[in-house]
């Protein structure tokens, strides 16, 4: 992709952002994509989370997409795999005027960061469910959502200012 000089750049960004989001959601909802990409990816997230927990000596058992500890189990469903957060961030990066290289770098770094964050999130939630179940809801809904949102927005702002800035500045 090249670098654009739109007349109403803000509006165009929002339109592209929403369009990219729709495309991502439609594609991810397709049966074959869900079965052959999303589900295996979710299982990969489960395995990686279990590995993370075992590495800190937590007794973990994995059945399908369910991570079981002795007294608690967490089902890592489609919405729990960090894919939605990745898609939203990716849509924003794709909608933003930048070079192809900058976009690819942003997508890779942003997706990796979101996934690493999600692994820590899943692992911490299983640990909390096992040891301090009373804090599970608060940390799950309140703390980790805020962290993911802040992380995604921060990455986008950082990326758009540091990497997308140069081509735009050079062009203008």
């Amino acid at each position: 992709m090249g670098i654009e000089t739109p007349r109403k750049p803000g509006l165009l960004f929002v339109a592209r952002f929403l369009a990219a989001l729709i495309v991502f959601y439609v594609v991810s909802a397709l049966g074959p994509v869900n079965d052959h990409v999303v589900v295996p990816f979710t299982e990969l997230v489960v395995s990686a989370s279990a590995f993370l927990l075992r590495s800190v000596h937590q007794p973990i058992d994995v059945v399908g997409t369910v991570i079981r500890s002795p007294h608690f189990a967490l089902d890592v469903r489609n919405g729990c795999n960090g894919v939605e957060a990745m898609m939203v961030l990716a849509a924003a990066m794709l909608a933003f005027p930048a070079t192809l290289r900058s976009r690819l770098a942003g997508l890779l770094a942003g997706s990796a960061a979101i996934q690493i964050l999600n692994l820590v999130r899943v692992g911490s939630l299983v640990w909390l469910g096992e040891h301090h179940r009373e804090f599970f809801d608060f940390v799950h809904v309140g703390v980790w959502q805020s962290i993911v949102i802040l992380a995604a927005v921060s990455m986008f702002v950082f990326w758009s200012w540091k990497f997308a800035e140069k081509p735009l500045a050079a062009r203008s």
């Binding site: 739109p6 803000g10 960004f13 369910v66 608690f72 919405g79 939605e84 939203v88 961030l89 986008f156």
Partner: protein
């Protein structure tokens, strides 16, 4: 060895209990050896004084079908209810008074064509008496049983045994529904008016309690469990008082069995003639599934046999954390996820069994104790916030670079 040495001597007593004696020995080997011997001796002494020796129920054979078996006569002064068992006499031929029998049971005398059966039953009673005596003397205890508690085992009385008026004698099965008690009474036994013999926590089978009485047994109390064999050492009769409940059987080897007053209930430990068992049904048909970490409680019941019933897991495994009481309460807090199949068998008063297979699925607990917790990275609200923030940030950034 300059420092003190602790010698731990553990001796397993014949009753299955353990006694540990700890001695602190001195600096020298001889002192340690002496301490060891003292400790071992003390342990042996305490084991020897342990309250009970192992008791085994004798084989009753033909006697098993009788609730009352007299030698000379059997007499009911009023109306005696016999919930389960025959009423017989031999070699005497007289059964007088009113006995209310359960279907399938009968009054039997040598004149009713049951001579051979009755002779066998009397022989079995005599053999049972001999067997009980052979298991003794066990632990010798005081005559007065009122206010005391006895664990399963063999107990002897040098002379009489007595339960005072309105006193309670408790049999502590220690949770074992198959526990056996044998009491060897050197003379006569009297359970006085208002006295009561009970099982601690309701665990225990009256059919596993045996009283060998050398002379007379006079049972005037409210409840008295067991098979009473009187006249084991000479003339001895059994008298069951007004309104008394003898959960077992009354047998005299040499004299009469008599009910005084009225309203007695005698029996409950007798198999139907031929040894057949009724169909015992265990309920409920299915058990609800459980959740790990959440208290679980279900009551198992049985019907069709002679109450009370004793419940046990006869095969399979209960979910870890759950236990089944002898009374049929399945309870506890599951600790392990999985599917568990097991069979619960109910045994009635006369050892007739009935069983049912069960499967319980123990599910993982979510934060609210339901199924596995879901953990969406972002819920709808969080997703909306992220969308808005990214859109705003993007618009600002684009406008900044293009302005």
């Amino acid at each position: 060895m300059r420092s003190s040495v602790a010698s731990l001597v553990v001796v397993t007593c014949c009753t299955g209990t353990s006694f540990a004696a700890v001695t602190i020995a001195g600096r020298f080997r001889m002192q340690r050896m002496q301490s060891f011997l003292v400790a071992a001796g003390l342990a042996a002494f305490l084991c020897g004084a342990s309250p009970a020796l192992g008791a085994t129920a004798p084989t009753l054979v033909e006697l098993k079908q009788f609730a009352i078996l007299g030698s000379s006569t059997v007499t009911s002064a009023g109306i005696a209810t016999i919930p389960n068992g025959d009423v017989g006499v031999s070699p005497g031929t007289s059964i007088t008074g009113s006995f209310v029998l359960s279907p399938g049971f009968a009054q039997r005398t040598p004149l009713t064509g049951d001579a051979a059966l009755l002779i066998s039953a009397q022989n079995d009673a005599s053999n049972a008496s001999t067997n009980l005596l052979a298991q003794g003397p066990g632990t010798t205890i005081l005559a007065q049983l009122g206010g005391t508690t006895r664990t399963p085992g063999v107990y002897s009385f040098t002379s009489t045994a007595d339960i005072a008026n309105n006193n309670t004698f408790t049999l502590d099965a220690g949770g074992d529904p198959n526990a056996v008690w044998i009491f060897l009474v050197g003379s006569a036994i009297t359970a006085n008016t208002g006295s009561n013999v009970v099982f601690l926590n309701g665990v225990g089978n009256p059919c596993n309690v045996f009283w060998r009485v050398v002379s007379d047994a006079t049972l005037l109390g409210l409840n008295f469990p067991g098979t009473v064999i009187a006249g084991a050492g000479g003339a001895g009769s059994v008298t069951v008082g007004n309104g008394a409940n003898l959960s077992g059987r009354a047998v005299s080897l040499t004299a009469a069995v008599t009910t005084s007053g009225t309203g007695q209930t005698i029996g409950g430990c007798s198999a139907a003639p031929g040894g057949g068992c009724p169909l015992i049904t265990v309920n409920p048909a299915t058990l609800p599934n459980g959740t790990i970490g959440t208290a679980y409680s279900q009551t198992i019941t049985a019907s069709g046999g002679a109450a009370p019933y004793t419940f046990a897991v006869s095969s399979g495994t209960l979910p870890p954390g759950l236990t089944l009481s002898a009374g049929g309460l399945l309870s506890g807090t599951p600790t392990t996820i999985g599917t568990f199949s097991f069979t619960i068998t109910a045994t009635d008063l006369i050892d007739c069994p009935g069983s049912r297979d069960y499967t319980i699925v123990i599910a993982a607990a979510g934060p609210a104790g339901g199924g596995p917790a879901g953990g969406p990275t972002l819920d709808s609200f969080g997703l909306a916030i992220l969308l808005v923030l990214l859109a705003v940030a993007g618009v600002f950034a684009v406008n900044r670079f293009t302005s």
